[in-house]
Symmetry: C2
Subunit: 265 residues, 2 copies
C-alpha cells in the first residue's frame, strides 16, 4: 500500500482539492483507495458530503483511543473509502500535548487496521503541528501541492526542512516523491517564474545527488477551474460533478502519472 501525505502549511493552495480528486481518480482507475482527513476543518469530509452527526466516529475518536480506523471509515464508492474528520479534532493538539509518543498514534492505528488498500491518501491541515506530524510518521511518501505564487513559495524551504527532520528522527522511510502545481494559470508570467524556480532547485539537487534527487515534479498542471471550487458544494468529487471539465481532465492525468510512478518504485 502506498501511503501518501498531502501537506503544505500555506493555506488555500489546493491540498483538499488534490486529496479528494486524486483519491477519486485513482479509485476510478480501479485502485482501492482510503482517503483519511486529519484536518480539523474537515474539508475533505465535507467535500464528499460527509458531515458527521453527534454520535458518529471521526479520526478524533480514533486518535484519543475511543475507536478503530474501521469504526470511523465510510465506504463512499466501490473503490473509495473515507475516514472523516471533525472540528473536535482542533482540541486534540492540546489534549495530546502530554501523551508520550503522540506523534505515532496514527501509525499505531494503521498497524492494527485489517483492511487492505492500494492507496492511503492523507489530507493535512495548513500547519506543521501534531496532526501533520502524525500523518508524516504514518506515510511513506509526501506530495506537495504548490500554488505557483510568490507568497506560496516563501514557506517551501521550511516545508522541506520539516520533511527532512521527520525522516531523520521519526520515520526513516519518509520521502518527498511528488510536487503538484495547483491553481495553474498558464498565461501568467508569475506561474512560469515560480515553476521555473522550483524545477531549477530540484534539477540542481539531482545534479549533486542531494536528498531531494528522487522528487518528481509531475508534468500535469492542475489548471484553475471553477468547477473544482463548485464540486464541494454538491458533496461530490469532480468526476461525479463535472466529469468533462478541465478539473476532471487534469486530476485524471495526474492519477495516470502517479500510477506510472508506482511501476518505477
Amino acid at each position: 500500500m502506498r501511503r501518501i501525505a498531502i501537506i503544505n502549511q500555506k493555506g488555500g493552495v489546493g491540498k483538499t482539492t488534490t486529496a479528494v480528486n486524486l483519491s477519486a481518480a485513482l479509485a476510478e482507475a480501479g485502485m482501492k483507495v482510503c482517503l483519511l482527513d486529519i484536518d480539523p476543518q474537515a474539508h475533505s469530509s465535507l467535500h464528499l458530503g460527509l458531515a458527521l452527526g453527534a454520535n458518529e466516529n471521526s479520526i478524533y475518536q480514533c486518535l484519543v483511543g475511543e475507536a478503530s480506523l474501521a469504526d470511523a471509515r465510510h465506504q463512499i464508492e466501490e473503490n473509495l473509502a473515507v475516514i472523516p474528520s471533525h472540528i473536535d479534532l482542533a482540541a486534540a493538539e492540546m489534549e495530546l500535548a502530554g501523551e508520550v509518543g503522540r506523534e505515532f498514534l496514527l501509525r499505531e492505528l494503521l498497524e492494527k487496521d485489517q483492511e487492505e488498500f492500494d492507496y492511503l491518501i492523507i489530507d493535512c491541515p495548513p500547519s506543521l503541528g501534531i496532526l501533520t506530524l502524525n500523518a508524516l510518521t504514518t506515510a511513506g511518501e509526501v506530495f506537495l501541492p504548490l500554488q505557483p505564487h510568490f507568497l506560496a513559495l516563501h514557506g517551501f524551504s521550511k516545508l522541506l526542512r520539516t520533511i527532512e527532520v521527520v525522516s531523520k528522527r521519526l520515520n526513516p522511510v519518509l520521502a518527498l516523491t511528488g510536487v503538484i502545481f495547483c491553481m495553474y494559470e498558464g498565461s501568467t508570467k508569475l506561474a512560469q517564474e515560480v515553476i521555473g524556480e522550483v524545477e531549477a532547485f530540484f534539477e540542481n539537487e539531482r545534479a549533486k545527488g542531494g536528498i531531494w534527487s528522487d522528487v518528481v515534479n509531475f508534468e500535469t498542471r492542475i489548471r484553475r477551474n471553477v468547477r473544482l471550487a463548485e464540486a464541494p458544494s454538491y458533496g461530490k468529487s469532480i468526476f461525479q460533478y463535472a466529469p468533462h471539465s478541465h478539473g476532471a481532465e487534469d486530476y485524471r492525468a495526474l492519477a495516470i502519472e502517479v500510477l506510472e510512478q508506482a511501476t518505477l518504485m
Copy 2:
C-alpha cells in the same frame, strides 16, 4: 485611531493582500497608517520587502518584552509604517502559553506607544490561536476578507462565534464592521451564490436587530488580478508595482468606502 484586525482562519483568502494594499491605499489618501504583522509567516513584511536581519526587532521581541513597538517599527513611505513579523513568532504560541493575561500583551504594548496614527491595520495568521487573540483584544474593529468559494464559507460561523466570544469576555468594544469579497471572479455562478448567502445572512441580522446589524458588506469586490500576486515578489504594494491595474483600482475603491464609513462612526 481606528484599530482594525484582518482575520480569517481559512488560509489563502486574501488577508495579507488586503492588509498591505488597504494600508497603502489609506496612506496614499493621506492617512497616517501603521501596518502590524502578527503572522509568523511574516508575509505582510515580505510583501513590502522587509526581510529582517538577525539582530533586528520584530513583533516577536515586542511580545516577549524585549522591545517596544517603536523599536520594531519601520517607516516605509511618508504615511505608512510597518511593524514586521518573523518566523521566530511561531514559537511564541508555546512560549506564551503559561503567561497570565497573555491575550493582552499586544494591547499593553499599544497603550505605551507614543506615536499617533489614523489607522492601525493588523494582518493575522490563518488560525484562531493566541496571536489572533492578541489582535482581537487590541483592535476595535474586525474586517473579514472572504473568498467567495464554498469551502471558504464553511468556517464563517466559527469565525463569527470567536469574535462574539472575544467581545463578550475580553474586549467589549470589538465589533465586526466590514466584510470584503476577495479573489472575485464575477462571471462565476459560485461567486454570486456565496455572496448572496452572506448578504442574506446579514440582511436577516439587520431585520431582527441581531448583534451583526452594523456589519458593512463593502460594495467593492477585489477582483482576481495576477498583478496582486506579482507585487509581493518585488517587495511593493500594488500602487508602487502596477498603479493602473484592476488590483490597484479595487483597493483604492475599498479605501474610499472605508474612509466614508469612518464619517458615520
